[in-house]
């Protein structure tokens, strides 16, 4: 640490300076990419039954080539359960990291998270309504759990949009007030529905969903969130400089040629749709969207051109690991992912912040 710092000091010139943040970002990617592969592998090997690495690879190879599972092996568990689940964790983690980063810039508040703008409350209401009111209500509208959640997300998006656009439009304060207000309003309904739940089984299902779970992962449900995350990454990266400018304030951003209201509107749409998709496949997994941007900023700095990809990658690694812990920490019982993100994430964040304060 001291050695590298000294080298940096010596060669500090204009070019080296520019390279500094970029070098940190390259370094972060060089660590995180293999870490993701490692985490995915571990997540597929470990669980209620251990699968040796060799069997995992052969099962994956057979799955990729479209071959049938070999009877008497764990092919089915690996290819139909663990691989899609690990991949979903990576996709959702990447998405939460991205949305968290973007929302923090959008409302210019480092304490913002993907759920601040009320989208997840709508999704939760939709999902809980589907669970509690059961196949009757869901079947009536022809909606599955995810679809009901996404419909709820869209409904709350529309409400927050209508509130936030008034009076000049989409100022950070308006967005936060509209998001928090409507989020609380919808949560009221959700809590009411939870109390109406018919039996313990239902209540358990609802709670599990509310705290976030990757248990529903299937191959068929991967393409949509993966596409949403990739498109979201592209849309946000295209606006990375404008996001930087936004951090300095609306007036500065305007003076740099950024059309601030339009940018906020676009960011609100992109982050809401992405949040809606993520929450509808996994529930509202907390803390990842708050912690990942902070941790990444400490390493690669605040420039969104570097921060966004690194946050996506780190979010992916983190959620794969957290899901692995959630599945394996207790024998015979799976913890909701959200519980583990809070238990691991909060102390980690506090530790990082504390380190930072000491250095400053």
């Amino acid at each position: 640490m001291t050695a590298t710092a000294a080298v940096g000091q010596e060669s500090e010139g204009p070019v080296r300076e520019r390279e500094h943040g970029a070098a940190a970002a390259r370094w972060a990617c060089a660590v995180l990419a293999p870490a993701l592969l490692l985490a995915l592998t571990a997540s597929v090997c470990l669980g209620s039954s251990q699968v040796p690495l060799g069997e995992v690879w052969s099962a994956v190879a057979r799955g990729v080539s479209g071959g049938d599972p070999v009877p008497g092996t764990q092919d089915l568990i690996v290819w139909q359960l663990r691989v899609p689940r690990a991949l979903l964790a990576a996709v959702v983690g990447a998405g939460l990291g991205l949305v968290g980063t973007a929302v923090q810039a959008l409302v210019r508040n480092p304490l913002a998270d993907p759920y601040l703008l009320g989208i997840s409350s709508g999704a939760s209401l939709g999902a809980v309504a589907a669970i509690v009111l059961g196949a009757g209500a869901g079947g009536l509208l022809g909606l599955g759990l995810s679809s009901a959640a996404f419909a709820g997300a869209l409904a709350s998006f529309a409400l927050v949009w209508a509130m936030a656009r008034r009076g000049g439009g989409f100022s950070p304060l308006r967005l936060v007030l509209a998001g928090v207000g409507i989020g609380q309003f919808l949560s009221g309904f959700t809590h009411y529905l939870v109390l109406q739940a018919g039996d313990d089984q239902q209540t358990h299902g609802v709670l599990f969903w509310l705290m976030g779970s990757l248990g529903g992962a299937q191959w068929s449900g991967l393409a949509l969130p993966a596409a949403a995350v990739l498109l979201g990454l592209a849309a946000l990266l295209a606006r990375a400089r404008a996001l930087n400018a936004l951090l300095m304030g609306d007036e500065t951003a305007a003076s740099l040629g950024v059309e601030v209201t339009r940018l906020r509107r676009e960011l609100f749409v992109v982050t809401s749709v992405l949040t809606g998709v993520l929450v509808s496949v996994s529930g509202a997994i907390g803390f990842v969207g708050l912690m990942v941007p902070h941790a990444c900023r400490m390493v690669v700095g605040g420039d969104h051109r570097r921060l966004l990809p690194v946050a996506a990658l780190f979010g992916a690694v983190l959620l794969v690991v957290v899901d692995l812990v959630a599945r394996t920490a207790l024998p015979d019982q799976e913890l909701p992912v959200g519980v583990v993100t809070a238990l691991i994430g909060a102390p980690t964040l506090l530790y990082l912040l504390d380190q930072r304060l000491e250095k400053a």
């Binding site: 070019v15 300076e17 500094h20 810039a105 210019r108 930087n244 500065t252 003076s255 040629g257 605040g302």
Partner: protein, 259 residues
């Protein structure tokens, strides 16, 4: 480049805050906007850097109405230092200054040689050449303002717009910043509270009062005891600065005008 404002009206939430304002900064001039709190200085400047849209009137850059330019086109000609202070998102000094290149960059484009040179030059101009890696939020107030000025310079503008850039700075840092500004020899619109500073750095002053321009001219022409009493409500004598020969306003801090 000459900048002129003609018959500018601005209303905020239905209330007219600026009406019929006309003022000018000739090419290479520093034109000061002075006036009491709430007189409309910031509002006028905000229409120049396009944070606010005027309800009537024009802002002319050279000969062109800035509304005929896109936001990006006008950001290549006008750079601003607004009063806002930004937030701490772990940005380094160099990253802040590099933001000045925003209007020149397409989506996904990286930093090219020109960008690097402009950013480095801007940092050097404000005397912060070695500070590129420092965290912006760890800087002192004076250093921050210099970095923000560097950001505006990296924008390579024809016109600089500064809203109270010396606020919250001690007197030495005020002098440093204003000296830097004068050394630029760029067309500048500058709102200032400190009338003595305005008198010594501005080539031309426009005095705003209740949203209108009530006097324009050289500092010597404009800053009279009568105007200071009328507009600012203070008793003052205007004498000659013993060192520079500029007008020097000696305020009577014991009683307002007319008492």
């Amino acid at each position: 480049m000459r900048i002129a404002i003609e018959d500018l009206d601005v209303a905020l939430s239905g209330r007219t805050v600026v009406s019929g304002v006309g003022l000018v900064a000739e090419d290479g001039e520093i034109a000061g906007l002075v006036g009491p709190n709430g007189s409309g200085k910031s509002t006028v400047l905000r229409t120049v850097y396009r944070h606010l849209r005027p309800h009537a009137g024009r802002v002319l850059l050279g000969g062109a109405d800035i509304r005929s330019l896109t936001a990006v086109q006008s950001a290549r000609q006008v750079a601003a230092l607004p009063q806002e202070r930004g937030s701490d998102f772990e940005l380094s000094v160099r990253e802040i200054v590099a933001m000045g290149r925003t209007p020149y960059k397409r989506a996904f484009a990286g930093e090219d040689r020109t960008d690097t040179e402009r950013v480095t030059a801007a940092l050097a101009q404000v005397g912060m050449a070695g500070a590129g890696r420092r965290r912006f939020s760890a800087l002192s107030g004076g250093e921050r303002q210099r970095v923000l000025l560097a950001r505006a310079l990296a924008q390579d503008p024809k016109v600089l717009v500064l809203d109270e850039p010396t606020n919250h700075l001690d007197v030495r840092h005020q002098v440093e910043l204003l000296t830097l500004l004068r050394a630029q020899r760029r067309t500048t619109l500058l709102a200032l509270h400190d009338l003595n500073a305005a008198a010594s750095v501005c080539d031309r002053l426009h005095v705003l009062h209740d949203g209108s321009v009530v006097a324009s001219g050289t500092p010597r022409e404009v800053l009279t005891p009568e105007l200071l009493a009328e507009v600012f409500g203070v008793r003052a004598a205007v004498v000659e600065h013993p060192l520079t020969g500029d007008p020097l306003i000696a305020f009577d801090h014991r009683a307002p005008a007319g008492v």
